[in-house]
């Protein structure tokens, strides 16, 4: 960075803001339309605390601690406690925090839409995702096609469905098993597979290896696969959904495994989410999903970076 560039960034603020303004207006319309969509479908909008005592232990997600609490990395655990308490259909627009995540598609502080519904599985949830995107596109007067990153993406159902196994077979230079053995799943996903996803229609990448799902149910009769999917649009990962694991014993084992993995990597260890595990015993079958709202605005606004769709980037605060 050249000397004085910080000052010039301040001077450029009105110009930067002029470029962001249409994206901020779009953002507001998307948030309103989301509320409209879920309310009309009988979902209850809820809020759960941002300051929590025990985030879901995950190897590669860093929570930020404030005094004796953690800023939520996702509202997932609290929302599932509400399912267990008898709320069958809930959604939330939540501010979430993850340490060390900063790039063209990442912010350490971002907005997630999460929704959960009892009595359905991840396939039903995929259909609801298709309906949501079409509804939003309609509300934004963008028809059924999305123009994003030079691509022309058809939002009409059904979207492309590609299992993780098939994606490796089709696009990767090594097999899925090989990638898992060599601990190269993530780099191959980013470099060789993701650029092909969500090109003609959005893509559901589904059925993840069981080892890659901390909170998802395993496929009945197929314990090597977790009922988890991700949505990709224009090569960008937008959402992560699954059939929810509601076996408290199995969930504890998974958390223990994640915590052990974190300890091995020398990462911070947070307490076991005991209240959640207790509630899980009463949680009915359900499916739920987390969708990155900043990225959703990016794809509907054809923004190049996530900074373009927020009021102020972390470096501008």
């Amino acid at each position: 960075m050249s000397p004085g560039s910080k000052n010039s960034a301040f001077e450029d603020e009105p110009a930067i803001f002029e470029k962001r303004k249409p994206h901020l207006l779009l953002r507001a319309r998307i948030f309103q339309s989301i509320r409209e969509f879920f309310t009309a479908r009988g979902y209850l909008e809820i809020e759960t605390p941002q300051l929590i005592t025990a985030p879901a232990p995950e190897t590669h997600i860093e929570s930020i601690s404030i005094q004796d609490r953690y800023l939520q990395t996702s509202p997932e655990l609290c929302m599932k406690r509400l399912l267990a308490l008898g709320f069958p259909k809930i959604f939330q627009i939540a501010r979430c925090f993850r340490g060390g995540e900063r790039g063209d598609l990442h912010l350490p502080e971002f907005s997630l839409l999460e929704w959960y519904r009892t009595g359905i599985d991840y396939r039903d949830l995929m259909k609801e995702c298709e309906a949501l995107f079409l509804f939003l596109s309609h509300r934004l007067d963008q028809g059924t096609r999305l123009r994003c990153r030079g691509m022309d993406i058809d939002l009409r159902a059904p979207w492309e469905k590609l299992s993780v196994q098939a994606a490796f077979d089709r696009y990767a230079s090594v097999s899925l098993d090989q990638a898992l053995n060599d601990n190269r799943f993530d780099p191959i996903m980013v470099e060789e597979i993701e650029p092909h996803l969500g090109v003609n229609t959005p893509t559901f990448l589904y059925d993840y290896p069981a080892s890659m799902a901390a909170l998802a149910r395993l496929k009945p009769g197929c314990p090597s696969i977790a009922e988890r999917f991700e949505i990709y649009v224009g090569g960008i990962e937008l959402a992560n959904g699954f059939s929810e694991l509601n076996d408290a014993h199995e969930q504890r084992k998974r958390f223990e495994k994640e915590l052990k993995q974190r300890a091995l990597l020398g990462k911070g260890i947070s307490p076991m989410p005991e209240r959640f595990l207790k509630a899980l015993k009463n949680m009915p079958e359900a499916a739920g999903i987390a969708l990155g709202l900043d990225r959703l605005v990016m794809i509907f606004g054809d923004a190049r970076t996530i900074d373009e769709v927020i009021a102020f980037a972390p470096e501008e605060v």
Partner: protein, 187 residues
């Protein structure tokens, strides 16, 4: 030591005993997977570009780089000699390390020499240098209109285009970053 999360454009690190500068940097993180730091790195000695992907936990040694003020002495074949003005130590750079700077090197020019550890690897010129015109066609008043240019040759052998009023034997200032004429030097 740097961590993968310290990586950013312009950072200079050492890999396998050679200095590299980060020219492109991209953070990515698939699903609930690992943080990945995708880079393009340029070898500061050979210019070779590599594109590794690093993960959190990877660490790097900062490249031990320093700059010293030196004076250009002379060249012999493809060797260019410079001298530290304080301790009279002399070092040599090869022609390919000097690069485009060759167009501006005249005796006693003060430059910054970049060292990797004790090894000289590159040169930084002053932004502006004054050089004598050794060859230029005469300018006949009235022949040209403003905005025209003509080719000339400088004392270093560098050829460039300048306004028509520049004459042989005169001095001009050249911007070493663009290689372009800036102004006539008044004697």
């Amino acid at each position: 030591m740097y961590n993968a999360s310290d990586l950013r454009k312009g950072l200079k690190i050492e890999i396998d005993g050679e200095p590299y500068v980060v020219t492109v940097f991209e953070f990515s993180k698939p699903g609930k997977g690992q943080s990945l730091y995708r880079c393009k790195l340029k070898n500061m000695i050979t210019g070779v570009i590599i594109d590794p992907t690093y993960r959190s936990g990877d660490t790097f040694k900062p490249a031990d780089l320093s700059e010293r003020k030196m004076q250009y002495l002379y060249n012999q074949d493809d060797e260019f000699w410079f001298m530290d003005v304080e301790n009279y130590e002399q070092i040599v750079l090869k022609e390919d390390q000097v690069g485009d700077a060759i167009n501006y090197l005249m005796d006693n020019l003060e430059v910054e020499i970049l060292f990797f550890e004790d090894r000289p690897i590159g040169i930084t010129l002053p932004n502006f240098v004054d050089l004598t015109v050794t060859k230029a066609d005469p300018w006949a008043k009235g022949d040209s209109v403003t905005g025209d240019t003509k080719p000339i040759t400088l004392e270093t052998g560098y050829e460039l285009r300048v306004p028509p009023f520049i004459e042989e034997g005169g001095k001009i200032t050249v911007d070493t970053r663009t290689g372009e004429y800036v102004t006539r030097v008044k004697e």
